[in-house]
């Protein structure tokens, strides 16, 4: 719901895009935990835990995307969005992103059951992911689409993993990194559509500022996942 009452003039599409891109500074690529992960500072068990925790996010993606479709009366948008569910759930001939993440886990030495049983998932990780899914279930579809715009920053983090992990973590079978390679191909198409819809829907300055809030919220969800991992593994709190 758009409750901001700003009476400033709307940003141009260029300026609005610039404001959205500026949120990259809150993206979890800058989190100390992610920096440690991508600098080779984690041991095998820590990486396994990260993969197993992040799996909870992966399995909730199609649930979230189906909620968006279920809230959307625009058939054209649904037709564009549905491939996201298929990308993650897969089909008979292509197992999709969730299975690709399982393969990453196997490549890191986890058993399939250790991943899919969700027993390693930290409560705070569940809370953050569920907050995102609940936001998408209960908000107008345009707001949920807007929340996906953290994908503007995703190619960089995937590229970083693909470029650094083989060096830092040679014990991970490189076939296991296929998820990141797939996402590099899928994300630009997805984010173009989400950005187009966001620029079209959030028209007033108040609405545009609401869009900024939404992307910031999504950055916080991802940041929180890293917080939980940091607390569990690197802070010495246990």
């Amino acid at each position: 719901m758009i409750v901001n009452n700003s009476v400033s003039a709307p940003w141009s599409k260029e300026e609005f895009t610039k404001q959205l891109l500026a949120l990259g500074k809150y993206y979890h690529i800058h989190h100390p935990y992610n920096k440690a992960l991508n600098s080779g500072l984690l041991n095998q068990q820590q990486i396994q835990e990260w993969v197993a925790n992040r799996f909870y996010y992966q399995i909730m993606i199609p649930i979230k995307d189906a909620a968006i479709i279920s809230n959307c009366p625009d058939r054209e948008v649904r037709r564009q969005w549905i491939h996201r569910i298929i990308d993650h759930d897969g089909t008979k001939n292509d197992e999709g992103g969730i299975e690709a993440w399982v393969q990453l886990g196997l490549a890191c030495g986890l058993s399939r059951d250790a991943i899919t049983s969700l027993t390693k998932v930290l409560p705070g990780v569940k809370f953050a992911v569920d907050a995102y899914v609940n936001f998408c279930k209960s908000s107008p579809w345009q707001e949920a689409v807007c929340a996906s715009l953290t994908e503007l920053f995703a190619p960089e983090i995937h590229k970083e993993r693909l470029s650094n992990w083989p060096e830092h973590y040679p014990w991970i079978d490189q076939k296991g990194l296929q998820y990141f390679r797939n996402r590099l191909a899928e994300v630009p198409r997805d984010v173009d559509f989400a950005l187009y819809n966001t620029l079209e829907y959030f028209k007033t300055r108040a609405a545009q500022e609401r869009a900024i809030e939404i992307v910031l919220f999504k950055c916080q969800v991802l940041w929180s996942l890293s917080d939980q991992m940091y607390l569990s593994q690197l802070s010495g709190s246990k």
Copy 2:
């Protein structure tokens, strides 16, 4: 939610199936309005109104199916169910069921806008369809799948339309009946999967009786659509 406390022994799968099939007597094929429709008793304006009202049901189907997917943590089920959304929303190469219904409306002499604007949709039709969609959004996915089992009875009603309408309503361009032809191909595959899941999930007698209640509820939704049309067109109440 299963609240029935029946302590009787569960029905065998054969008996449970038989009990489900026995609900066919409540299917709207037996409604006086449907009988009038399929006996050639309606005029062009009445048929147009039926098509325009039923369109509201058609457009809510993918919304309902996406809700089921969004509530379903079982990836295999989601992979099976998603084709229902695609069947209705269509793809670039196949326009799908919603557009096929628009084509039926055009074949009956309605303009596209008269159909898609929803201005002809009766409030009671919206209430009944929304009751179904809300049930599917708020119930466990297995109950929403169960509710689709009125499809057990759908081929008969589609066949009846395909066989009777060309004779009774020769002014309807027969190309417009493609929706019914498509559904004759799609429904058996869909209903097999829904029946399989229902037989698997509703195991105790209490649960099986709950399944009966659910299919009865769905029969009532469809019956109510005919009630609204009957009241509006045939009862002389206006």
